[in-house]
């Protein structure tokens, strides 16, 4: 794997999985993994296996559902779909993520321009 790929932050994989399911409808694990890889332009370092830990976590919280079905090429696979509660949670998480990245952007820009600002303060925002 090339070292330039991005390591996933804690919790971001869950959000990507929910986004994928909410945008694409029911999918199986492999499909979700491939979709995330494609959308991220292969920039994310994703061990596909870890997707299943994320899926079971989301399912235990009641945000996604699963059932066994048959795929387009006639293979048995477990399909996951987002639930009503999941959609709500996804919206909340998305908002939170946007705010966080917005703040991070501002802070990082600020630090770039006015180097006088102590770094410690930037971190506590």
């Amino acid at each position: 794997m090339s070292p330039s790929k991005l390591d996933l932050l804690q919790g971001t994989l869950d959000l990507m999985v929910m986004k994928t399911l909410s945008a694409m409808g029911p999918m199986h694990g492999y499909g979700i993994a491939r979709r995330i890889e494609q959308v991220s332009g292969n920039e994310v370092l994703l061990n596909q296996g870890t997707i299943y830990a994320s899926l079971v976590r989301l399912e235990q919280r009641g945000w996604i559902d699963s059932s066994w079905g048959v795929s387009g090429n006639n293979r048995k696979a477990k399909f996951y779909a987002i639930t009503g509660a999941g959609r709500q949670q996804f919206e909340e998480d998305t908002l939170y993520w946007r705010r966080l990245t917005g703040v991070m952007d501002r802070v990082l820009d600020l630090n770039d321009e006015a180097g006088a600002l102590p770094g410690a303060e930037g971190e506590t925002v």
Binding site: R34, V56, R61, A77, K78
Partner: protein, 891 residues
């Protein structure tokens, strides 16, 4: 979050199903990936490899899945536990030894905690018991008469104080076996205590059945009623559920049973430790008892919010107004400075505090020794297992995981020890609770309760941390790879390790020697107490409560009747083969007592502040001889009648006191006359001082009156025999029954039982501490043996080489033993130093023994050295038998 937790717990239990499902999912995933890769033009093998790489390892995916869905810590714990039980099972000898040592340490601790909790920590078994106070004067030497109050004083105090919800009391002179119950034609003795009618209201005791006493029951002339104790109701009346309302034939009177006390209330346990009280009867305050002088003890219940200090001030203010008898104004003010409330709890168990703390410390030491021992065992084991740990570390187990596992192992051992120890403690506590004759309060209420269980858990965890620390730290700080290389024999790591184990042994010996010194000092004190000259001979003598009827219209007729009965009784008893002497007194030493006035030589003005009179015994001729009390002068005679010159015998202390007040030829009291407001009391003899209240305390003043000139309150027939007194019990009882068919089957009590009863608390604490010391010694011996034996094993090669180079067997043995003794001596010296420093703690528990008693210290040192030699001898012998050829070839 709750939902997630539930899901996790469900997942934890549905592990195999979930794993299978995940495996199917992962298989499908691989299939999809391989298919896609083949479509992209890769060869099947290449496609599979690529797919596996992308998935990032199937095992890792499974682990992550389990971690996300289940209770991973619990999983690890279960894994560890399975592993621990497997290894402990493989090492059965070690496991049994460890659990046994811990069981002894924890069991002793839990049992003693139960005792301390019952006697000291837990409140008395009454509601809001902190409000209850015992009201009494400071201790004096005139016995119960100076610790009690008159009925008039009771009234004045009760009416004159505002601090109390109510004040009650009981008749302090109810003698044992004061009831004769006639049931199914048999006469049985029982003991009842007369209490002021509001007794149960003040204590807050409620009946198990029927009702308890009401003020009406205490009126003079009220129909006689009785309340049964739970134990007596069960024993004597087969727990008759319809007993309430029935009448009993008691002392030839029909008495109605009005209620049964709950099992939680035992009068003896709180107010008269070591005695059994079968029933409670109401005390009529306002009849003749008004003229009986000091007879009632006071117990008060403070109003909520009233402080003890305030109650004390108030009592001090009321005391001068209290009178011995309102008809005699000169008796008013005699209680000045003599009415002091103290918490009832302090009265009941306060003076045991120091003993209990020593006992508690002793078991604490036992636990420490057990932990040191365990630490040693575990250390030896972890050395043997160090390669296993190193191997596991090399295979990827984290250090934290290995240390965690060791601590879990300690906890598992500790838990097993705690369970076994709890069983042990339960047996010990059961045994203690059934030692009816030990005069310790509340002992029969002893049981393992919730607090004791919590204590068990606490000490088990603390112990696990203590003994698991050393081996755990070794793994945590040591270099695991070094361990892998450390083959043992003589390497630096091994030597450091041995030093640590030596420190443990020295600690153990030191702790054991502290215990042994305490036990030795207590034992010596106990022997000194047994050696005290009590003023009477307790062996080969026994007493029985004799019933007689001396009712007659006049005093003279009554005396004549009684004298005839007693004379006949003593003649008959003395005629029994084996009986040496017999005599009667109304009270016995170490039993009850009372005092009357203070007869002084004629013409002497009483010294200021003289309030405590001599204890009074009303006796027959021959009583003092039967007791084995020496008398200078003459004994009473049957013809010292009501109209002849009044005579008394006084004890040496009183004679000395009186001689100091006046001028007597040779300072001899015999033949002198004391002023009694009448014709004077002729002192006909001076008797040895008798220990009347305790075997350890100082003896006070005593005066003996002949029963022909003073009225006795009962008859304790004392019999001195040449054969063991128990052999005479039947013939004595039948002789008494011939004279009086109403004589109940009273207990025939060897005088030694009175002495044993008085000594029982000291004996109890001495035996407990001595057992713990013996246990400590045993554990120390095991510890020494373990370490020396281990050292010999480690040095097998070295010893082999030395023997090959010409060292003799004796030399090898001497060297191993020398090493053992060095450790023991350091430990003993350390222990002696600690004991010397801690002497103050135990000093107040000793009797005629210095806390720096040289004999004890030397004996303890010798005992420990002897144990060390024995414990070191076996490994030393083994070392000397090492065959150099075998030793060098091994390893």
């Amino acid at each position: 979050m709750m939902r997630r937790l539930l899901a996790r717990i469900k997942a934890f239990f549905g592990k195999s199903r979930l794993d299978a499902e995940l495996d199917r999912e992962l298989a499908a995933h691989l299939d999809f990936a391989i298919e896609e890769n083949i479509e992209r033009g890769l060869s099947p093998e290449e496609a599979r490899r690529e797919a596996l790489v992308k998935i990032g390892g199937l095992q890792q995916a499974r682990e992550k899945h389990r971690e996300a869905r289940g209770l991973i810590r619990l999983d690890i714990l279960l894994q560890d536990l399975r592993y621990i039980f497997r290894t402990l099972g493989r090492d059965l000898g070690f496991t049994i030894a460890a659990v046994l040592i811990l069981a002894l340490g924890i069991g002793a601790n839990v049992a003693v905690f139960s005792v301390v909790n019952t006697l000291l920590l837990r409140p008395l078994p009454f509601p809001q018991s902190q409000e209850l106070v015992w009201i009494a004067p400071p201790p004096t030497k005139c016995g119960l008469s100076c610790a009690t109050y008159s009925t008039d004083a009771y009234d004045t105090f009760r009416m004159g104080t505002r601090s109390y919800q109510d004040v009650t009391g009981y008749f302090a002179f109810s003698s044992p076996d004061n009831l004769s119950l006639t049931q199914h034609g048999e006469i049985i003795n029982a003991t009842a205590i007369d209490v002021v009618a509001n007794f149960f209201q003040v204590l807050g005791v409620h009946p198990a059945m029927g009702r308890l006493l009401t003020p009406d029951d205490g009126r003079t002339g009220a129909p006689p009623v009785i309340v049964l104790s739970d134990a007596w109701w069960r024993r004597q009346f087969n727990a008759d559920p319809s007993i309430v309302g029935k009448t009993l034939d008691l002392n030839h009177q029909q008495v109605t049973v009005i209620g049964v006390l709950p099992p939680s209330f035992d009068f003896g346990a709180v107010f008269a430790p070591g005695t059994k009280v079968d029933a409670i009867t109401p005390f009529a305050l306002y009849g003749s008892p008004r003229d009986w002088g000091n007879i009632i003890t006071f117990i008060g219940r403070l109003k909520p919010g009233v402080t003890l200090a305030h109650a004390r001030q108030e009592a001090e203010a009321v005391a001068p107004r209290m009178c011995g008898n309102n008809k005699h104004p000169e008796s008013c003010g005699e209680y000045k400075d003599g009415v002091i409330p103290v918490p009832l709890k302090d009265y009941v168990s306060g003076r045991l505090r120091r003993s209990l703390i020593v006992l508690w410390s002793a078991v604490g030491l036992i636990l420490l020794i057990a932990c040191v021992n365990l630490s040693n065992l575990l250390l030896a084991r972890s050395t043997a297992r160090s390669k296993e740990f190193a191997m596991r570390a090399a295979l990827g187990a984290s250090r934290a995981r290995i240390v965690g596992q060791l601590l879990t192992e300690s906890l598992v051992l500790s838990a097993m020890g705690a369970v076994a120890g709890l069983g042990l403690a339960w047996m010990l506590v059961y045994w203690l609770a059934h030692q009816g004759s030990v005069a310790l309060p509340l002992l029969n209420t002893l049981h393992i309760d919730g607090a004791a269980l919590a204590w068990t858990v606490l000490i088990a965890v603390v112990a696990a941390m203590l003994f698991g620390l050393a081996p755990g730290l070794r793994i945590a700080t040591g270099n695991l790879h070094e361990l892998l290389k450390d083959t043992g024999a003589g390497s630096g790591q091994g030597r450091r390790h041995e030093r640590f184990r030596s420190v443990l042994v020295v600690t153990e010996v030191a702790l054991a020697s502290v215990l042994l010194v305490s036990a030795g000092l207590l034992l010596r004190s106990f022997l000194r107490v047994l050696d005290v000259d009590l003023g009477f001979e307790s062996t080969h003598a026994a007493a029985i409560n004799a019933i007689y009827d001396d009712s007659a219209p006049t005093r003279d007729a009554s005396i004549a009747k009684r004298t005839a009965i007693f004379q006949q009784m003593i003649e008959r008893i003395e005629a029994i083969p084996g009986v040496q002497a017999a005599g009667i007194s109304d009270y016995l030493p170490l039993g009850q007592n009372r005092s009357w006035d203070i007869p002084l030589p004629k013409g002497v003005t009483p010294p200021k502040g003289l309030t405590d009179g001599p204890l009074v015994y009303v006796v027959t001729p021959g009583y003092l001889r039967a007791m084995g009390t020496r008398v200078r002068g003459r004994d009473f005679r049957w013809d010292d009648g009501p109209h002849s010159e009044p005579v008394v015998i006084i004890n040496q202390s009183y004679a000395r006191f009186l001689a100091g007040l006046t001028k007597w030829p040779n300072n001899d009291a015999v033949g002198q006359v004391l002023d009694n407001g009448g014709p004077g009391l002729h002192v006909i003899g001076v008797a040895d001082d008798v220990h009347e209240e305790s075997t350890e305390g100082d003896t006070g003043w005593q005066i003996y009156y002949p029963q022909t000139q003073a009225g006795p309150v009962g008859a304790e027939l004392v019999i001195r025999s040449t054969v063991p007194p128990a052999m005479l019990a039947n013939s004595v009882l039948s002789a008494l029954r011939l004279l009086n068919p109403h004589q109940p089957a009273a207990e025939f009590r060897p005088l030694q039982t009175f002495v044993d009863h008085a000594n029982s608390p000291r004996r109890f604490f001495m035996l407990m501490v001595a057992s713990f010391a013996a246990l400590g010694l045993l554990l120390a011996a095991i510890g020494i043996y373990g370490v020396i034996s281990y050292t010999v094993t480690r040095q097998t090669q070295e010893i082999g080489i030395r023997m090959a180079l010409g060292a003799t067997m004796g030399r090898v043995q001497r060297q191993v033993l020398g090493g053992t003794l060095r450790l023991a001596i350091v430990g003993i010296a350390l222990g002696a130093a600690v004991s010397l420093a801690a002497a103050k703690l135990i000093a107040s528990l000793l009797f005629a023994t210095s806390p720096w008693d040289g004999v004890t210290y030397v004996a303890v040192a010798l005992a420990l050295l002897a144990v060390a030699v024995v414990a070191g001898y076996l490994p030393a012998r083994r070392a000397s038998r090492i065959d150099p050829m075998v030793a060098l070839r091994a390893n």
